[in-house]
Structures are given as structure tokens and as C-alpha cells.
């Protein structure tokens, strides 16, 4: 499976993503934000970081960068686009995903392990995933997902809520919500479920010496579903 990771000025999880993708057998390449086009890919990843310093609004300048038209075209033609953390923020700014990511409820940056519940398995990311609850890692200041009532209803009606924050036992409530996101939302899909944006970082959880290794399941599953 061929993947491309886009590097924006200020991206800082690009290398981590490259390492993770290659570890699980993706043929990954790095693409610079000023390039005109993206090499032939089966998956495009927008990595975490602080693209363009997150000035103006997180992800907003990146959503107007030169490369982004190719990303949108790729997504609209059904290609898999994954945005992690800042990548999720960029995807909402492009309009490929609904809603926005506000500052965390307690106004602090949070770096911590979290549990997330996989809400929908009818898609190329999570189909046949071995677990329903994954332990992943978050590191963000603006991960508090919000959208209008209408948007929320349509997300729910179309099963576009991808993952939610929960406890180890799967309980979703205020105490298991690290940043105040509406309905504990940690990640969402577009309507066709080829575009996934989520705050947690699977690429930081890929071997047992790190904070955990549930990230491995995530990457392996994408590959399995592609075969």
C-alpha cells in the first residue's frame, strides 16, 4: 500500500508517521507543501504539529496551501485521507470534515494516554479491527470538537462518528472526556468514510516500550483491509 505524508512548515509528527507507516509495510513517501502534485498513493496522511505556527487558527493556513487542492481532489475521488491531530484540524478547515476544533475545556495543553471507542466498523479504517476500545495518546491544545446540532444529527444519522473518548471499560461521560469535545468525539469521517480525522496519535503507540501498542492495530488493520 502506497502512502504519502504531507509536510507543512511546522509539522512535527511527520517523521513519527513515516516511521510508523514504514514499520507496518506501507511504501511511504514525504511530500512538501509547496509541491504541485502528490505521487500516486492509496493513502494520504496529514500529520500532527503546528502547521504554519497554527497562526490565525489551527490548520487554517495549511488549508489554503498549494498542495491542498490535490488532497481535496484525491479525497473527492474516493482516496483514503487520514488527518491526525493538526491534520484533523486542517481537514475541518478545508471543509472535507464538518465542525471545528476549539481550545480544550480546561484551557491547557494535554499530553496523556486516553481510551477511545471505535463507533463504526463499516469503513476501510476499522473494518474487522480486533478491539473495540483502543488505548492511544493525545497531545493537543485545541482538540475540543464542536459542531452545530444539525451537523451533529447528520454525523450520527450517517454513522460518521468514528471514535469517541471513553474509559478503559468503554464508559463515555464527562470524566472520560479529556477536552470537552461534544459527545466525547475524538474523530469523525466524511460521508463516504474515506476521510478520517482524529485527535489521538496512533503513530506514538507502536511498540511495547512506548506508551502502549494499540496504534499498531490501527495501522495493521488499514493494511489488512486494503489487501
Amino acid at each position: 500500500m502506497r502512502s504519502s505524508v504531507i509536510i507543512f512548515p511546522g509539522s512535527n509528527c511527520d517523521r513519527d508517521m513515516d516511521v510508523a507507516l514504514k514499520k507496518f509495510g506501507f511504501k511511504n513517501q514525504m511530500v512538501w507543501h509547496n509541491d504541485q502534485s502528490i505521487p500516486k498513493s492509496d493513502l494520504i496522511v496529514l500529520p500532527g504539529g503546528f502547521s504554519y505556527g497554527d497562526y490565525l487558527r489551527c490548520g487554517s493556513i495549511a488549508s489554503k496551501s498549494k498542495i491542498i487542492k490535490s488532497v481535496i481532489d484525491f479525497a473527492n475521488s474516493g482516496g483514503l485521507v487520514l488527518g491526525i491531530c493538526n491534520g484533523f484540524q486542517i481537514l475541518t478547515e478545508t471543509g472535507l470534515l464538518k465542525g471545528i476544533l476549539q481550545q480544550n475545556k480546561f484551557l491547557n495543553f494535554i499530553c496523556s494516554n486516553v481510551f477511545i471507542k471505535v463507533k463504526d466498523k463499516q469503513n476501510k479504517y476499522f473494518k474487522d479491527l480486533k478491539k473495540d476500545i483502543l488505548e492511544l495518546h493525545i497531545a493537543h491544545n485545541e482538540g475540543n470538537y464542536f459542531c452545530s446540532d444539525d451537523e451533529l444529527k447528520s454525523l450520527e444519522d450517517n454513522n460518521q462518528i468514528a471514535v469517541t473518548y471513553c474509559g478503559e471499560d468503554g464508559v463515555e461521560n464527562e470524566s472520560t472526556n479529556p477536552n470537552g469535545a461534544i459527545k466525547n468525539i475524538a474523530g469523525i469521517f466524511n460521508k463516504n468514510k474515506n476521510v478520517l480525522g482524529m485527535m489521538p496519535h496512533p503513530e506514538r503507540m507502536i511498540d511495547k516500550y512506548l506508551s502502549g501498542e494499540d496504534g499498531s492495530l490501527f495501522f495493521e488493520n488499514i493494511l489488512d483491509n486494503f489487501k
Binding site: R15, G49, G53, S112, L210
Partner: protein, 730 residues
């Protein structure tokens, strides 16, 4: 403006220093020249009070590639890999403007490291605040933590460990010390020594603004009532630009274009250009009209003194300008050829086609004043005679809970949750352990780092305190299974013009030197911060040690959490029960006098090597050094982290349980031993002839000692974990 003695004094120079300048120049300097002298001759840049004593430090060792004197120290960790590291203070700016002060402290130290060609792989910090009851403490803490996080998180370098303390002596002078470790190929290290004539001098990075002017002089003076007026001297950081600068510099460093490179830190363009020329024994000519400026009509004076952040000065190979410019254009950074190296051995400044300053370099560097300040020895205080009957009214379990929630012992998760500690995907020991540990990417090696200081011990007896912190750093590295290699130090003291403060400095340095020599744990970099004093009230002497060690196979790394019920727990090293200067004495007896615990360097080394041997042979499964709060505090942390309890043995021949459990004797480690390894462990302990006590057995969910203690881990965790969060929320 005419330069007079009064103007010189306004610039922080002393009367005698001004006369010396006139004498050396054989004329009165103009204002720009005066500014350059004031920037180079202040304490912060010249080390004029400390240099005499710093020379005595132990700075050499088998693994030392570069000792003090460069942007940072460098050590060899095998296979052509080297670690570049340094700690630096940003105390004065952080007290005036906590967010920006702390943020630019982190930015500055990271630049020091990547200037040498290394990619930063870990950040640490040691931060010290006034009493929790002081009205400024909460906001200063919040601002500093946000500033450190705001900068480090954006760059994408994990913050892997730190230290936070509270003490009323920091009420008017908080301390913010930031440390960075970088990884470099040992054959591709870049230095700041210029070489060759007529080589282009390049300015890269952010534009120059009026921020930070006089920053270095501000850091060389004490505070008074008017500190708010100093706010404009605090620099403003832009981590995004630094991230671009980091990537651009590393890209340019991949080939052979750079002759020398130096970041513009304290005293900006002045100190970077003078230092590069001085080290190369060359002259330098700068055309200030070519310096990219952020504001209009900046004068040579302002350009030379600006401390705008995220800027670098590079001496390039001739003909490489276009190639270098392309890289900086790609990263959207300013790039300007602003001068050249010369054979005049002078710094010459041109502005608007006129020469505006001309000073022989040696007057600024080698001829800078050195003071042999008078100092006073601190006598070892007499050991206290505690009234042990008084202890009897204290319940052990109450004492323990009180100590665990003490501001200086309690868990600092509230702080490090705000630092990205997992980015780069190699953090294998997070903050909260004895040391932070990151893997050397793509290898089996890992690097451990820790920051330590013991202001109470250093205040009580500076010589002992100086030794003790080096030992504590040594232990913290060994506790995670790392072989200690070298240290960096940040020497935070009061006003060196006072005999007492100067004496504290001299004796702490002596202690550090003695211990680092004995333990073969050399000092490779550091900085000195004097004048941490407000309205005559100085801080307690607070030298901070940043230690770095190597784990050759990261799978052998140790953590402190108890692992398995039934495993045995030993305390290695002898417990005499030294309570003077302990948290127990302070918190429960309100007793602040007495000497710090004695440091026995032979024991430190022997016991340290014993524990390292045990860990190399994988005979122990958890380890934690015993420090502040004594054995019971250390055990509690191991229980809380492991979510497991311990059944403590009835200890034979115990003279006094309070002394035993809360005494802060040095050179001790607690280790967890699987039953199967017990014989081998005992053999090794006997081989090294070290004292050990069989403390107990990992068991259940409570910490139990005879009828005295029976505390569920959850209750301990509550006392230990939530103090800071509750404090910040209140």
C-alpha cells in the same frame, strides 16, 4: 549623545570599568561602542565573578568530546553517535514576564544545541517558585509552565523530565532553568570558531526588532520596585520560526558549507560576532545596513543590542551563498550577507556607509574584567539533638501522608501533562520517574537525563550541598539502569558582591567539582546566574545539575513501579537516620536548622556501581533512589506507580523508626528482586561489601508496617497526586 561616566553607569558598567575602557581604547567610546562593551562585560556574558572558580571544575573524561566553552557540551555514546547538551537559566525574564521568559529560555537552549549540528531529542527543566502562599506564585507557575509547553510542544521535542520546588526565598526571584539534549554524528559537529579571511558572514532567521535590548544587562542586576518597567527588555519568542530555523540549519549542515555557526542569544549580534571572531583569532566587519530589521529606523546601537529570538550568525565558505540562500528561502527565513571575516582582529561596524564602531576584539573578550571577589566560608552547622519523645505523639501514617502531599514531594503531573513528552516516538520513560529516557532513534541505545538541585542542603552547608546534588544526579541515572556519563550545571545564586553569596557559590562549585571528579562524572557545559535578588533578599543557593547517562540496551531500562507480588524489596546502602534538614524535620517538627546529610563519595560510587551491576544482569525489576522524604516516601512512590502494596518487615535493631523511615541519608537505593534472583543478588551485594536491609515484600494493595501503618495505596495516591492540581484550581 555624549558618552560620560554617568551614561556608562546607566549601561550597568562600574565607574572603574568605564575608566578601563577609555584607557584600553585610548579614547572615549561612542555610544554604540559603549553598548558593545556593556553587553560583553556584564556578568551574564563575561562570567567576571565566576570565571576564576569555574576554571577548577572537572571537565575532562574519556567520553567528553567537547567541554565548557562552546555553545554546548558534547559526549561520545559510541557508534559515532554523540549527545550535545546544556542547561541554561532564564530567571530574570521569567519573573518579569513568565510566559515569554520561560518560552524563550527553552528556545535559547534548543538553539545552543542545534547550532552544533545536533537534532534536539529531549528537553528538561528545573523551575523554582516562591512559597505556595505567596500571591504571585500561582500565576508565575501557570505562566512558566505554559511558556515552556508553548515553545517545546510547537517545536516537537519531547519534555521528558523536570523538577519543581517551592521555597519562600524565590518569592521575588523565581528560577527557570531549561536543558536540551541533541543527537549528532560525532564527525559532523559544528563549532563557533571562525576560520579563514574574507569569508562571508551570514545572518539567518527572524528579523531584528527592538525587543530584548539590554536583556543581558538586566540579567546581571538585582531587582527593585521598578521591575515592571523592565518588561520591554524581555524577548518575545516564536517557536514556529525556530522550528523552521532548526530544519533549515540541519539541512545546510548536511554538506560542507558552514565554517562556523553561533546562535544570537544573550547580547544578540554583539556577542555572537565577537565570540566567533575571538575564537578564530580574527577580525570581523559587519555592515549593519544589511541586517534584516523588523522595525523602521533602527540604529546601530539597537541592532547590536537587540535580543530578538530565532536568529543565527554563520561564517560560510565562499561561493556557497547561493546554495545556502536557496535552503533558507525554502523555509521562508531571512538570509543576508552582512559582513566578512578580516585580519584586523577588530570588530568594525559600518552603517549608512560610515564606520560607526571599531574595537579590538581582545578588549571585549580576553581583556574583559575578572574579579576575585571576597567570600566567606559557611561553617558546618551543629547536628541537632531531637527530642525523640516528641515523635511519639506523631502517627507514622499521618506523617507519611503529610510528607507525600508536601509541595516539594508531591506529584507534578499537573505540570508535565501540559508538556508533549511523547512526540518523536522514542520516549520510553516519561516524566515522573527518576530520569526521563529516550531511545537513540533506530538503535538499541537509550539516553537518560535528570535535573536535580537541593537548595536547602546547599543553603545549610554549600560544600556538602554541592557534592550532594552531583550524587543525586548520579543516582537518578543509575536508578533507570543508565551509566552516568557527564553533567551540565546551571549555577543560580544571589549577589556575588556580597561575601556570603559569593562564598555559597565558591563552596558549591568546590563540592560539585569534588564529587564529579570522584565519580568520573565531568561537567561539560553550563551557565551562571548571579544577582537573583530582590530588594536585598537573595535566593537560597540553587545550583542545578543536569545529568546524562547511557543505557546500552534499552530493554534493560528500569522503572520505579513495583511489578509483582511476592518479590522482595531491599534498601541498599546504610540508613543512619539523618533528620536534620529533612522534609520530616521541616514539615512535622518545624525545624529548619542542622547540617545536611553527609556525603560519602566512596559509598556513592561503590553502591552506584553495585546497583548498575544488578541492573545489567537483569537481577532487579524495579529501582528507585532514596532521597527527599526518606525510605517511606520512596516506597510509597514505588507503590503508587505500580498500584501495588508492600508488607514491611519488623526491622531488627531499629533504634528509632522515625529516623529510619524519614531520614535522608545519602547513597541509598530501593530495589525489587524476584525470588529466583535472590541468591545472585546477595552474592553481588556481598562481593561489593555494601550494606543492605531486607525491607519487605511486594504484596496486596496497602502499605503495611506492624501495627503502625496500614494505608491503602489509593489513599497514598490521593495525598501524593492531587496536591498541585488542587492548589492550582483553588
Amino acid at each position: 549623545m555624549e558618552v560620560t561616566e554617568a551614561v556608562a553607569i546607566d549601561h550597568g558598567l562600574k565607574k572603574e570599568e568605564f575608566s578601563k575602557i577609555c584607557e584600553l581604547l585610548k579614547r572615549t567610546p561612542n555610544l554604540t561602542e559603549l553598548a558593545i562593551f556593556s553587553a560583553m562585560w556584564n556578568e551574564h556574558c563575561s562570567y567576571k565573578s565566576s570565571r576564576k572558580h569555574l576554571k577548577k571544575m572537572h571537565t575532562k573524561g574519556k567520553q567528553v568530546i567537547q567541554g565548557p566553552g562552546e555553545n554546548a557540551g558534547v559526549i561520545d555514546i559510541g557508534d559515532d553517535d554523540a549527545i550535545v547538551f546544556k542547561i541554561e537559566s532564564h530567571n530574570h525574564p521569567s519573573f518579569i514576564e513568565p510566559y515569554q521568559g520561560a518560552a524563550t529560555g527553552v528556545g535559547g537552549i534548543m538553539r545552543d544545541v542545534f547550532t552544533m549540528g545536533a537534532r534536539p531529542i529531549a528537553n528538561l527543566n528545573s523551575i523554582h517558585f516562591g512559597s505556595p502562599q505567596h500571591k504571585k506564585t500561582r500565576n508565575l507557575l501557570r505562566g512558566v509552565v505554559k511558556g515552556i509547553g508553548g515553545y517545546g510542544n510547537c517545536i516537537g521535542v519531547p519534555t521528558i523530565a523536570g523538577q519543581t520546588t517551592f521555597d519562600e526565598s524565590y518569592n521575588g526571584n523565581i528560577l527557570v532553568n531549561a536543558m536540551t539534549l541533541g543527537l549528532v554524528n560525532k564527525n559532523k559537529i559544528f563549532y563557533s570558531k571562525a576560520a579563514g579571511l574574507d569569508k562571508p558572514v551570514i545572518y539567518v532567521g527572524s528579523k531584528t526588532g527592538r525587543d530584548g535590548i539590554h536583556g543581558a544587562s538586566m540579567a546581571s542586576a538585582t531587582f527593585d520596585d521598578k521591575i515592571e518597567e523592565k518588561k520591554p527588555t524581555v524577548q518575545v519568542g516564536d517557536p514556529f520560526t525556530e522550528k523552521l530555523l532548526l530544519e533549515a540549519c540541519l539541512e545546510l549542515m548536511a554538506d560542507n558549507s558552514i565554517i562556523a555557526i553561533q546562535d544570537m542569544g544573550a547580547a544578540g549580534l554583539t556577542s555572537s560576532s565577537v565570540e566567533m571572531a575571538s575564537k578564530g583569532n580574527l577580525g570581523i566587519e559587519l555592515n549593519l545596513s544589511e541586517v534584516p530589521c523588523r522595525e523602521e529606523k533602527m540604529t546601530p546601537y539597537e541592532i547590536m543590542l537587540s535580543e530578538s529570538q530565532e536568529r543565527m550568525l554563520i561564517v560560510l565558505e565562499k561561493g556557497k551563498e547561493e546554495h545556502a540562500k536557496k535552503i533558507f528561502d525554502k523555509w521562508n527565513l531571512d538570509f543576508a550577507v552582512i559582513g566578512k571575516t578580516t585580519d584586523t582582529k577588530k570588530i568594525e561596524l559600518i552603517f549608512d556607509n560610515k564606520k560607526v564602531a571599531e574595537i579590538p576584539i581582545d578588549l571585549l573578550a580576553e581583556n574583559a574584567p575578572i574579579y576575585d571577589r571576597s567570600w566567606k566560608k559557611t561553617k558546618l552547622p551543629q547536628k541537632l539533638k531531637f527530642d525523640k519523645d516528641e515523635f511519639k505523639s506523631l502517627k507514622l501514617s499521618d506523617c507519611l501522608k503529610k510528607i507525600l502531599s508536601n509541595s516539594n514531594i508531591s506529584d507534578k503531573k499537573w505540570i508535565w501533562d501540559q508538556y508533549d513528552h511523547t512526540v518523536m516516538g522514542d520516549t520510553i520513560q516519561k516524566p515522573g520517574g527518576d530520569s526521563g529516557v529516550v531511545r537513540v532513534h533506530g538503535t538499541n541505545k537509550a539516553v537518560a537525563a535528570s535535573v536535580d538541585s537541593s537548595a536547602l542542603y546547599c543553603f545549610s552547608h554549600p560544600l556538602t550541598g554541592g557534592k550532594q546534588i552531583v550524587c543525586e544526579s548520579y543516582r537518578n541515572l543509575i536508578s533507570v539502569g543508565a551509566k552516568p556519563i557527564a553533567i551540565t550545571n546551571c549555577l543560580n545564586f544571589g549577589n556575588p558582591e556580597k561575601e556570603k553569596n559569593m562564598g555559597e557559590f565558591v563552596e558549591c562549585v568546590e563540592g560539585i567539582t569534588e564529587a564529579s571528579k570522584y565519580l568520573d562524572f565531568p561537567v561539560v557545559s553550563g551557565n551562571v546566574s548571579f544577582y537573583n535578588e530582590t530588594k536585598d533578599k537573595g535566593i537560597k543557593p540553587t545550583p542545578t545539575i543536569g545529568g546524562v547517562g547511557l543505557i546500552s540496551d534499552y530493554q534493560q531500562m528500569l522503572t520505579m513501579d513495583f511489578k509483582t507480588d511476592g518479590n522482595l524489596v531491599y534498601v541498599i546502602g546504610k540508613t543512619d537516620g539523618h533528620l536534620d534538614q529533612s522534609i520530616f524535620a521541616r514539615e512535622l517538627l518545624n525545624e529548619k536548622k542542622g547540617p545536611p546529610p553527609t556525603v560519602n563519595l566512596f559509598n556513592e560510587k561503590n553502591i552506584g556501581e553495585t546497583v548498575l551491576d544488578l541492573s545489567r544482569k537483569s537481577l532487579i525489576v524495579s529501582c528507585h533512589d532514596v532521597s527527599l522524604g526518606g525510605i517511606l516516601t520512596a516506597l510509597s512512590k514505588m507503590c503508587i506507580k505500580g498500584k501495588r502494596g508492600i508488607k514491611i518487615n519488623s526491622l531488627k535493631g531499629l533504634t528509632n523508626k522515625y529516623e529510619y523511615f524519614f531520614g535522608e541519608d545519602q547513597a541509598r537505593y530501593i530495589v525489587e528482586i524476584p525470588k529466583a534472583s535472590l541468591k545472585k543478588v546477595n552474592d553481588i551485594l556481598n562481593k561489593y561489601s555494601v550494606h543492605f536491609d531486607e525491607l519487605g515484600t511486594v504484596y496486596g494493595q496497602s502499605i503495611v508496617y506492624k501495627d503502625d501503618i496500614n494505608l491503602p495505596i489509593e489513599e497514598l495516591a490521593d495525598a501524593h497526586t492531587y496536591w498541585l492540581k488542587k492548589y492550582m484550581d483553588s
